[in-house]
Amino acid sequence: MINPGLSVNLGGIELASPLLAASGPFGYGHEYLERIDCSALGGIIVKGISLKPWPGNPPPRLAETASGLLNAIGLQNPGLDHFVKEDLPLLARAEPRLIVNIVGCDIDEYAAVAAGLSGLEGIDGLEVNISCPNLKAGGIAFGTDPAETYKVVGAVRRQTNLPLLVKLSPNVTDITIIARAAEAAGADGLSLINTLSGMLIDIETRKPLLGNIFGGLSGPAVLPVALKMVWQAAEAVKIPLLGMGGITTAEDALQFIMAGARAVAVGTGFFYEPEVISQVKEGLENYLVKHEIKALGKLEGAARKGGIINGAC
C-alpha cells in the first residue's frame, strides 16, 4: 500500500508513486519485475526503442569508478516491431505506469517510432532521448542544440497525443536553453539528467576501458550535478520535471523534489541495491509523517522558495 500523499501527476501521467525506473538499467522490465517487489514503483521507463534493431557497442561496455558507473551500451535494442510484439504484452500487465523511451539517428526515425507506439494498449507516455547523435547533422547530439531539440521534439509531438517527456543531456553549456526549447516544442515534462560524458583508461593495457572509448557516467557521483540542473530547469520552464541522477535513498529523492522535480527516477541505483525503490518509498513516507506533510507535492521546489531566486554562484 502506497501512501496516497505520494501520488503525483507527471505531465498528464497519473502516478501512484513518484518513483520511476529510469530508462536503461531496468531493461524492458521483465527481469526485475519477476525478481523484486515492484509495488512501490509508480512507473517504468523502458530502455530506448529505435525503429530497426540497434546492435549496441563492442564490449567492454561497463567500467566502475568512484561512486559511479561508466557505460557505453550503445542503445542496443530489438527495434520497434519486436518491442511491440514481444515485450509490450508482458509489460502492459504490470502494475506500474509504462513510459517508452524512444531513440533515433534522425528526426524521421524518432517520428516513426512515436507513430508506431501511439495508440497502443498499455503505454502511458513517451520519453524522447535527445542525447543521440544526429547523423544528418554531423553527429552532434540533438540535445546539445536548441534548434535541433525543438525540431525533434516537435516531430514526435505531431505523431502522438501521449504525454511526452523529453530527456535532457547534461553535456551542454546551459540546460535552461534546451529545456525551454523542449517545452516550446510541446513537451509535457522534462526528464533530467541523462549520463555525463566521460572515459577511463586501463594503465596496464594503456587503452581505454570501454570498447566505445567514451561512455556515460551515472551513480551517486553525478547527484550534485543533476540536482543543480533540475534546479535550473525548474526556474526556466513551467512543465513538470522528472529528476534523476545518482538517487539511492529517500534523502536523495527529497533533494530532487525540493529542487523542483515532480517525481524522480532511479537507474544505476538498481545495480547497487535491487530493492532500492521499496527503501526510498518507505523513507519518503516516513519523512511525510515526521514533518506532518500530507502530500509530497507540497515539497516540490521547496528549496527554491523563500526569496532564493536562482542558484547561480
Binding site: 531496468f26 526485475y32 564490449p59 561496455r61 566502475e64 544505476t268 547497487y272
Partner: protein
C-alpha cells in the same frame, strides 16, 4: 554469511558462504553476484562462478584472484561477516557425459571444479597455469572419485611442461565433450583444437557485469547471432558461439 576464508596463496582467496537457496538450487557453471559492503564507493556487485557447493551445510564457496578493489575487499572479509550475494544466476554447463575432458586455466578452475563434482563416472581435468604458484586449488577439492587430474605448467615447475592446449593435442579426438574456462588465449587455442577434432565444447566466459539478470545489456559478448548476455544466455556458451573474431 562468510563461514570460512582460505588465503590460499599470495593473491588468491577462497570464501565460503552460508547461502541455503543458492546451495540448494545451483548447478555447475552458474554464478553469483557478490555485493560490496563499502557503501557507495563500489556500486556494482561482482560476478563469481560457484567453485564448490555443499548441500548439507547449505554452503557455496568462491575461488578468486585478488585483482581489484572488489576482490581486495572480499579478501579482507572476516569469518562471520554478512555479505549480500544473489544467485544462482545464468545458464551453466550441460550435463557432463562420462569420459569428458575438462580444461581449466588458472583461476578458470572455479566453475570446472563444481562441474567435475557433479558426476562420479570417469572424467579428466587438465589444470594448467603459467607456473606452479598459480596452481592454487585448495587441497582436497579435486580428490573426487574417478577424476583424473593432469597438471601442466608452461615453465614446467609442476606437472607436465607446456600449455593446456599442448596437452590436448594428444587427447583429441576421443572425449565425447570438452568443458573449459580460462584466459582468452587458452580458450581460443582450445576452440581451434575442438573444431578440428569435431569435439563438442562449452566455455565459461566472463565480462564486466552490472545487473546480473539480463536487464542492462552491459555484459554483452559477440556471437554469430549478435550480442549475447554473459549473465543470461551465458556464462557458458558453446565453442561455436564465442571467440569468432579478433
Amino acid at each position: 554469511m562468510v563461514t570460512e576464508k582460505q588465503a590460499i596463496a599470495p593473491g588468491y582467496c577462497r570464501l565460503s558462504f552460508k547461502a541455503p537457496h543458492i546451495a540448494g538450487t545451483a548447478y555447475p557453471g552458474q554464478f553469483v553476484m557478490v555485493y560490496m559492503n563499502s557503501g557507495y564507493r563500489h556500486l556494482l556487485p561482482r560476478p563469481f562462478s560457484i567453485f564448490t557447493r555443499n548441500r548439507d551445510k547449505e554452503e557455496v564457496s568462491l575461488l578468486f584472484a585478488v585483482k581489484g578493489q572488489g576482490t581486495e575487499l572480499m579478501a579482507s572479509a572476516e569469518v562471520g561477516s554478512l555479505w549480500k550475494i544473489s544467485g544462482p544466476l545464468g545458464s551453466g554447463f550441460p550435463a557432463l557425459p562420462e569420459g569428458s575432458l575438462l580444461v581449466a586455466g588458472g583461476i578458470g578452475l572455479a566453475p570446472l571444479a563444481f562441474l567435475a563434482a557433479s558426476i562420479e563416472k570417469p572424467r579428466t581435468l587438465i589444470y594448467g597455469a603459467r607456473t606452479a604458484s598459480q596452481l592454487i586449488c585448495p587441497p582436497g577439492v579435486l580428490d573426487l572419485p574417478n577424476l583424473e587430474v593432469i597438471e601442466v605448467t608452461e615453465d614446467g615447475t609442476r606437472g607436465e611442461r607446456g600449455t593446456a592446449a599442448d596437452l590436448l593435442l594428444g587427447l583429441l579426438p576421443g572425449p565425447p565433450a570438452l568443458f573449459a574456462c580460462g584466459p582468452g588465449p587458452m580458450l581460443r587455442a582450445v576452440k581451434t583444437l575442438c573444431l578440428h577434432s569435431g569435439t563438442p565444447a562449452w566455455f565459461s566466459v566472463e565480462e564486466k557485469m552490472a545487473c546480473g539478470i539480463g536487464a542492462c545489456l552491459g555484459c554483452a559478448v559477440q556471437t554469430p547471432k549478435g550480442y549475447s548476455r554473459v549473465c543470461r544466455e551465458g556464462p557458458v556458451f558453446s565453442a561455436e558461439e564465442v571467440f569468432n573474431n579478433d
